[in-house]
Symmetry: C2
Subunit: 202 residues, 2 copies
């Protein structure tokens, strides 16, 4: 039995992390409180000292779900990477088979949109914040356009990405799944890649 208040905070964070991964893998109802606690090396009984209810954990876990984009944005910033190259990197990363095959570390929306639609408001509010945050970042990639056009491009591209991974995961035909990912990657780059600043043709 661990006991310090500091270790309780660590425990809390570990439960949330495990839930953030497993919920994306198994769905929001695909794993029970007991199994989540076991994954962190604890037992059921302690759970309700950390969360008011299972639903409270769902909301916290949604807030904690990070896809792989943050690193790409950070790297682009650091290297002074141009917008078109960043856009390509985001698309390639999102539509990589590795993302399709590892929902536990992947995009919240590709994994959980449908269940979020049926969830308590706390979880949906957390998801909405994640969505606005992702759209905000993506909008900057299109900043050579006027603000409304840039936001529209972000919403359009994000929808396309999420739909493609959703379909690629749903089918059990590997060829079709691969075709969806590669086709949509090509399509997004051909149709939505931002122009380099001051560049009107490529």
């Amino acid at each position: 039995m661990g006991h310090s208040q500091e270790s309780k905070l660590e425990t809390h964070a570990k439960i949330v992390e495990a839930a953030a991964k497993r919920f994306r893998e198994t769905g929001l109802e695909g794993i029970g409180v007991a199994d989540l606690m076991k994954e962190v090396g604890l037992t059921v009984g302690g759970f309700y000292k950390h969360f008011e209810s299972r639903g409270a954990l769902v909301a916290e876990a949604v807030s904690a779900m990070q896809g792989g984009w943050d690193a790409l944005f950070a790297r682009a910033e650091e290297r002074g990477q141009a917008k078109p190259a960043l856009f390509d990197a985001l698309v390639d990363n999102y539509l990589d088979p590795a993302h399709r095959d590892n929902p536990g570390e992947g995009c919240l929306f590709a994994a959980l949109s449908a269940e979020l639609a049926r969830s308590e408001d706390a979880a949906r509010t957390a998801a909405t914040q994640k969505l606005e945050s992702a759209l905000g970042k993506l909008t900057k990639v299109f900043s050579e356009q006027r603000a409304p056009a840039a936001r529209a491009a972000a919403i359009f591209a994000y929808s396309t990405l999420i739909g493609a991974v959703s379909l690629a995961r749903a089918t059990n035909d590997p060829a079709l799944s691969a075709e969806i990912l590669s086709t949509v990657a090509r399509g997004l780059k051909a149709r939505l890649r931002p122009a380099t600043a001051g560049q009107s043709k490529r």
Copy 2:
């Protein structure tokens, strides 16, 4: 107690219809066998004379799920509607708030992709057939292009539609939800609407 063999077929079909609706509304695990039977006016016990397991019903229900597109394709055929007008009708219908708000009668993939990814092969195979069928119809809308380009356009547009409705359902911010639907509808028409045959500009 109804008993004839003919009425058994009717009963079977009613169970599948109810499941096709309720699974899209509540998720594949959101309603139990007992409640599904109750919805058709029957009790649990009879279920396993109709289906070998709950999973067998899931697969049959997936096969039975029809979105609203068939009617639009039929009407276009009948009226000799041009491709661009049909494309616009498909987009507007799919991205209508009524579709977002009524998953039970809507697109299989917007409602169940993530759960299908975790389902038994029977259900995923049924879903794959539905997907190929939808892509096949949509590919014809782009038939003024060469075959590979038309199929690519269909995959791209379908992904975008599914992602948009997924996001519009997930958020609990009504303004954002409406913005996603209208933005993606405008974007698809601007970027992917097929040209009328023989028409190089609009």
